[in-house]
């Protein structure tokens, strides 16, 4: 009798410890974003470190893990916002960016730390601009357009600065809990 290959779960070949470790990283990032990084702002702008974590995970693990982590991380961020924000919008945008960054990874040199830095810079700009546009379309009360442009610029800057710190940490956690059979280097 031919043994059927074990169907991989939604998150690919992830075990329970790995899923918990990734979840812990996302929750910790959300807590840091809303405390430490909220007082250590650049000109009053809070970096979106949860987004950086999602993109780093997509970079180390590919589009499937990227989009699923993007969805849950985005939803967590949505649920931390005060009423009147569109719940589910960060989930949608982060899902898309998790997938896109994961796909992009196949066309870029994996070992360079600069690749994730540039990717984060470009993707943050796209994410922030799409979130603002969609929120306005969906009828959310919004601040002025010059303010929005300033915020997007500073978030791109701050996220980019954080990536060289966040990326090695996320990769360490992702690799630490990787099942043994996966090739490590």
């Amino acid at each position: 009798m031919v043994k059927e290959p074990k169907p991989s779960s939604v998150l690919g070949d992830l075990g329970v410890p790995r899923v918990s470790a990734i979840a812990a990283v996302i929750v910790l990032a959300a807590a840091i974003q809303s405390t430490v990084l909220s007082y250590a702002t650049i000109l009053g702008v809070i970096p979106q470190v949860v987004l950086v974590v999602v993109m780093c995970l997509a970079f180390t693990d590919g589009e499937k893990v990227g989009l699923v982590c993007g969805f849950f991380a985005g939803l967590l961020q949505d649920l931390q916002l005060p009423e009147g924000s569109v719940v589910g919008l960060y989930a949608l945008v982060y899902t898309l960016v998790g997938f896109a960054v994961g796909q992009l990874r196949e066309f870029t040199p994996a070992e360079s730390v600069w690749t994730p830095v540039f990717t984060v810079a470009a993707a943050t700009a796209v994410v922030e601009a799409s979130y603002a546009t969609l929120a306005i379309i969906l009828g959310q009360e919004w601040v002025g357009i010059t303010f929005t442009v300033k915020v997007i610029g500073l978030v791109v800057l701050y996220n980019t600065l954080l990536t060289p710190l966040v990326f090695p940490l996320v990769r360490k956690v992702a690799d630490r809990f990787r099942p043994e059979r996966v090739y490590r280097w």
Binding site: S34, T35, V36, I46, F71, Q80, G88, T95, E141, V143
Partner: protein, 285 residues
């Protein structure tokens, strides 16, 4: 290889659909839908970590800020000790006056003044993670008597109102949020209107009902108490910073500079006799 990316695409479609379902649910739900419960859970998970991080990093931040000022601190300490004596005397006088106000308002069956209300002091433990919404999480909740729609103040003036409560945390919407508004009037002139938030870097905008009123830069703006019982009258909001356009025309722009420094909120007071409690009492009468 092809099948692998195909599965990725299917998964993408599933999660996009899920996000859209959540957005739809959010638009359709009233109070206390499934998303409200999910929000309570997510806040309950993140709040303890936020509280821990705040406890660790707030003093560190203050330490670094003050490390270069040790020399100056000694002189300042002496000066402050001298000041403390006279302030203590002023406090005693103010308390006597406050007692008198409470006695008089009881006697004339007036609304309780906000300074005499019971309050709960709470520490700010977390910020809204967005750059476009201004809210704070505090470390007191339903167990401490806090309910939705209560007014929040600090020593400088009006901070905002409570918008959601869990057992041991609450979320307050700051007055600078674009969705926040408060009934306001100009002190001494009785012109009423509404102040509205425009985000952190901007002043509040004041719209007066009667646009023929004479307003001047530097006028004090306080709460009017006319907004369905959320904010009691007389809480300082800010002062008029700029009046643009013709005051006699409806498109006049009055900018109010708030007294509260919203970037440095550490502790706030929730007024327990506002919100639902104030409405209950109004019905009793």
């Amino acid at each position: 290889m092809y099948r692998r990316s195909g599965r990725g695409r299917l998964l993408l479609l599933i999660f996009i659909a899920l996000s859209i379902v959540i957005i739809t649910l959010d638009f359709r739900q009233g109070q206390g839908g499934p998303l409200a419960r999910a929000k309570d859970i997510s806040v309950a998970v993140v709040a303890p970590i936020q509280k821990g991080l705040t406890t660790i990093f707030r003093p560190v931040g203050n330490f670094f800020a003050s490390i270069g000022e040790l020399g100056r601190l000694r002189g300042e300490n002496q000066r402050l000790k001298a000041e403390l004596d006279s302030i203590e005397q002023e406090i005693a006088e103010a308390e006597a006056l406050q007692d008198e106000i409470v006695t008089l308002t009881d006697l004339h069956d007036l609304d309780e003044p906000w300074i005499a209300m019971d309050d709960v002091t709470a520490q700010v433990i977390g910020y809204s993670p967005s750059n476009y919404r201004w809210a704070r999480f505090i470390d007191k909740g339903r167990a401490d008597g806090i309910r939705t729609d209560m007014a929040v103040v600090n020593a400088q003036g009006l901070v905002g109102k409570v918008i959601s409560v869990t057992e041991h945390t609450s979320e307050i919407l700051l007055l600078i949020d674009p969705r926040a508004a408060a009934g306001a009037r100009i002190e001494e002139r009785r012109d009423t209107g509404q102040v509205q938030g425009n985000g952190e870097s901007e002043g509040l905008s004041l719209e007066l009902i009667d646009s023929i009123s004479d307003v001047f830069e530097g006028d004090l703006v306080i709460t009017s108490g006319y907004d369905q019982g959320i904010f009691p009258p007389g809480i300082p909001i800010g002062e008029i910073e700029e009046i643009a356009g013709d005051v006699r025309r409806p498109d006049q722009q009055i900018v109010v500079d708030p007294f509260v420094d919203f970037t440095a909120l550490d502790y706030v007071k929730v007024l327990l006799d506002t919100g639902p409690n104030r409405q209950d009492r109004a019905e009793d009468r």
